[in-house]
């Protein structure tokens, strides 16, 4: 079982300022880290011979409205060579909802990050093309934020749209 703990120990040892906490619920290893260290830690996990987390399986975000660190960006990494997974979580303040882009490490992060921007309004520093991916450009706000009004609609045509209001 020493193997399982080693990713925590290594991160704690290599990036003592970046490490916040860890847990391992039912074998799901999770490391919570500071956003300034995200890129370095991700790069280390990807490149180091010990771990080789070469696949970014998923990248998403959670809105904990009412909590001090309102947002959390979540990264799921997978190592093909060792058949291991690890989850990184980066807490963010609402007024500083920005984190480094991981596109230089995993190009698949490109569309994931655009989706997180689209849905949560979290920006990614250094992203090559950060624009909405699912919704249309005319859309205002970010619908998966918990304070987005549940019944707010922004149709492009038809009742309630701009052209409809102009006609009236």
């Amino acid at each position: 079982m020493k193997e399982e703990g080693s990713v925590f120990e290594k991160i704690k040892e290599k990036f003592p300022e970046g490490f916040i906490s860890r847990h391992s619920f039912r074998g799901d290893d999770t490391i919570i880290i500071h956003r300034e260290y995200l890129y370095r830690i991700a790069e280390y996990l990807k490149e180091s011979e010990e771990f080789r987390f070469n696949i970014l399986m998923d990248l998403t975000a959670v809105d904990y409205l009412g909590r001090g660190y309102r947002f959390e960006v979540v990264y799921h990494l997978y190592s093909m060579d060792f058949n291991r997974r690890v989850r990184l979580k980066v807490p963010l303040l609402e007024r500083e909802a920005v984190v480094d882009s991981l596109v230089p490490l995993w190009s698949c992060a490109n569309w994931y990050e655009r989706e997180v921007w689209d849905m949560f309004g979290i920006r990614f520093n250094g992203h090559p093309h950060l624009k909405r991916i699912l919704l249309y450009e005319e859309f205002e706000g970010h619908p998966l934020r918990k304070d987005y009004p549940i019944d707010k609609r922004q149709p492009l045509i038809g009742p309630g749209s701009k052209e409809d209001r102009n006609r009236k």
Binding site: L134, L135, Y136, P143, Y148, K152, R153, Q154, P155, L156, I157, G158, P159
Partner: protein
């Protein structure tokens, strides 16, 4: 009376409206506007198991300019709504629209920021086929209802 009897075997008398309606209802060229899971049910209706061709609507055209019937199959989001309206406007008269599945009828259970709450808010609809997804029999029933409507409407020439 005598004349009628001779004519009976050789001539069919009808009104032009009825004749055109009969021709139109059995030669439907449909445009499948398929966006979501209802598409599987559409395929089932279109292919040999349920075979929509038995009812004279077996010919899908993938150009709206060659189609008479717009089948809107699947959830319509606000993002795609302008495209759906453009497709409808490109179709030549006479034209009909079927709302296939509950999402197109009312938005279904997608009462959220992304989904149009019924396509009748953007284009006119002739027949609504609810269901999630509708059974192929339901679709054929809807098609037959549309054919009745085509038969009985005033035919613009």
């Amino acid at each position: 009376m005598g004349v009628d009897k001779t004519l009976d075997k050789n001539i069919i008398l009808s009104k032009l409206d009825r004749a055109l309606g009969w021709a139109r209802k059995y030669s439907i060229f449909q445009y499948p506007f398929v966006t979501a899971c209802c598409g599987m049910e559409y395929m089932s209706v279109a292919c040999s198991h349920f075979d929509i061709d038995r009812f004279g609507a077996g010919f899908p055209r993938f150009s709206p300019r060659q189609a008479d019937l717009l089948m809107v199959v699947g959830t319509i989001s606000h993002k795609i709504a302008p495209i759906l309206r453009t497709v409808y406007e490109q179709m030549c008269e006479p034209k009909w629209v079927i709302a296939f599945g509950v999402c197109t009828c009312t938005g279904g259970f997608y009462n959220n920021y992304a989904t149009v709450q019924g396509i009748d808010t953007i284009i006119p609809v002739d027949v609504y086929i609810p269901g999630c997804p509708p059974r192929p029999e339901t679709v054929l029933d809807g098609l037959i209802k549309l054919q009745e409507k085509i038969q009985n409407q005033k035919q613009e020439i």
